[in-house]
Symmetry: C2
Subunit: 125 residues, 2 copies
DNA sequence: CAGCATCCAGACTGATACTG
DNA sequence: CAGTATCAGTCTGGATGCTG
C-alpha cells in the first residue's frame, strides 16, 4: 500500500465516530450490558438528558453503529440494536476499560488496587 | 470485588483522559511516530493551532501521560516524552486504528479495501 | 523555537415543558 | 414510552499578535 491510498487517519476516523460526549457510555451500555430501550439508557447513562440522548442515538444510527426498530404497540416500543459494525467497537471499549483498571486504579477503585477490566465486568452486573 | 469498590466507570475515566479534541492525535504522533517537539506536533497534528496544542500538552502533563523537559540552550529546546502510563495507551490507539481500517475502509482508503492497521503503519512512515 | 494573551464565534449541553 | 421544541448558558476552539 502506498501512503497516498490513505484518505484519512484511521485513528481520527474512529475518534469522529465515538469521540463525542456520552457516545462511549451509550455504547458501553449497549455492548456490555445489552440495553436496548430509550428510557433504559436515559436512566443508566450518567448525567445524560433526553435531548442529548436522542441526538446521540440519531448520530449513531446515521453512522451505521446502531439500528432503530419501532414496534407499533400501546404504549409505543422502540428498540435500539447494535449493527455488526457497532459490535466491532467492543475491543476499543475493552482496552479503554483495561487501561483505567490497570493504570488509573487510584482514581477508579476505592481500594486503589489495579486489576483486569474483565474481573470488574464479572462482578459488576 | 464488590461493585461498591468502583468509584468511577473505567471506560469513562479513560475517555476523560483522551476524549478531548486533538488529544488522540497528539498521542498518535508521540506513540507511533516518536515526535517530541512542540513545532513538530504543531506541523503534524492536523488543523491544530498553538494555543490548543499548548493547552492539550499541559492537560496531558497534569494527567501524568507525558513529561516536559526544558534544555536551556539557544534557541530554547523543549522536549515532550511519554510516561509509562502514557505509553500504555498504545493498545487503545491500535484498536482505534484497527476498527477503521477493517470496518470503515470505504471512508479511510481510496481503494476501499479493508486491511489491518499494522499493515498501514508499516508503509506509512 | 516554544509558547502565552486577548478576543470572538460557534458548538455543545442542560433545564423545562410539551406531544402522540 | 419515546421522544421534540425552545431558550439560555457554558465551554471550546480559532485567529491574531506578541515575548524571551
Amino acid at each position: 500500500m502506498s501512503k497516498d491510498n490513505l484518505k484519512v487517519c484511521p485513528i481520527y476516523n474512529t475518534f469522529d465516530l465515538i469521540g463525542k460526549k456520552f457516545t462511549v457510555l451509550i455504547l458501553r451500555n449497549m455492548i456490555l450490558y445489552h440495553h436496548t430501550r430509550f428510557n433504559e439508557l436515559l436512566d443508566s447513562v450518567e448525567e445524560i438528558n433526553s435531548k442529548t440522548l436522542s441526538l446521540r442515538l440519531r448520530e449513531m444510527e446515521r453512522d451505521g453503529l446502531i439500528t432503530r426498530h419501532v414496534y407499533p404497540e400501546m404504549p409505543l416500543r422502540v428498540e435500539y440494536a447494535l449493527t455488526e459494525k457497532g459490535k466491532n467497537l467492543k475491543p476499543i471499549l475493552e482496552q479503554m476499560g483495561e487501561f483505567s483498571t490497570r493504570y488509573c486504579a487510584i482514581n477508579v477503585f476505592r481500594d486503589k488496587k489495579p486489576r483486569h477490566f474483565k474481573q470488574v465486568l464479572e462482578t459488576a452486573h
